[in-house]
């Protein structure tokens, strides 16, 4: 049963992600991306990372995708489906990407995973909170600075010039 859930989620993720990069209409792309991200949050739930799954939905689907949709709507006439949406190098890109995938798979296949001692104790939200406030306090603070900088930068750039 548990295995089946994983296969289902993985399949969804793969299909949705391929659709997200190949759809002609950029608005549809954004919607497929939202679905992909939700599937990935499913992967997180499956991996006992419930907090992360929630954050994924809240931040990505609730925040970033919304932003995408705003941007798409603001640049409306770029999204006409009659306009070619893929660049001239797409055939060779398919080839190279597949080659990359092949190489990665071969590398994984060669790795002896059996040597890794698996432990399956899950991480609680409590632990994440503790880590963020103690061991990872400095990166955490940096993160807030980066977010602030991004916000200020976005406002400055986005301001209409007189």
């Amino acid at each position: 049963m548990g295995d089946f859930v994983f296969y289902f989620i993985a399949l969804c993720t793969c299909v949705f992600s391929v659709l997200a990069v190949t759809q002609r209409d950029i608005f549809h792309c954004a919607l497929w991306l939202a679905l992909t991200l939700m599937s990935i949050s499913g992967v997180y739930f499956y991996l006992d990372a419930a907090f992360l799954g929630v954050v994924q939905i809240l931040v990505y689907v609730g925040g970033i995708i919304t932003l995408f949709i705003f941007a798409i709507k603001l640049t409306a006439h770029m999204n006409d489906t009659s306009i070619r949406q893929t660049s001239k190098q797409w055939v060779i890109s398919v080839f190279v990407t597949l080659l990359l995938l092949l190489v990665l798979f071969k590398v994984f296949a060669r790795t002896s995973w059996a040597e890794i001692i698996l432990k399956t104790d899950s991480t609680s939200i409590n632990q994440i909170g503790l880590s963020l406030m103690t061991h990872y306090a400095l990166p955490f603070e940096f993160m807030s600075v980066i977010l602030l900088a991004a916000m200020v930068g976005a406002i400055v750039i986005g301001k209409e010039k007189k």
Binding site: A30, L33, L47, F51, S87, S93, L104, S124, A150
Partner: protein, 102 residues
């Protein structure tokens, strides 16, 4: 129990899809979408390893959080840049931006 390597395969696939998108989309927003996919691929790796290697302080998940935050910041700045470029040039296609050549 699903083996760890399956998650890695999933993540590699997502990564490659993201790369393909970044290489082929003409629309800059499409490229941003692809980048989000790449970041998520990395996240899946982090969370899976966190689970299977049992890091006591939840390092993988904490880093995933950071990645999500960075992705949010990158999207905000990227999208606002796109809007600024659009305002300026009324175009969003990468093959139109060859200013650096001259």
């Amino acid at each position: 129990m699903i083996p760890l390597v399956y998650f890695i395969f999933l993540s590699a696939f997502l990564f490659c899809v993201g790369i393909y998108g970044a290489l082929t989309r003409r629309n800059v927003i499409g490229i941003l979408v692809s980048i989000e996919l790449i970041l998520n691929a990395a996240n899946i790796n982090l969370v899976a390893f966190n689970k299977y290697l049992g890091t006591p302080d939840g390092m993988g998940q904490v880093f995933s959080l950071f990645v999500i935050a960075i992705a949010a910041a990158a999207s905000v700045v990227g999208l606002i840049l796109i809007i600024a470029i659009y305002r300026d040039r009324k175009a969003l296609f990468t093959d139109g931006f060859t200013l650096m050549k001259e």
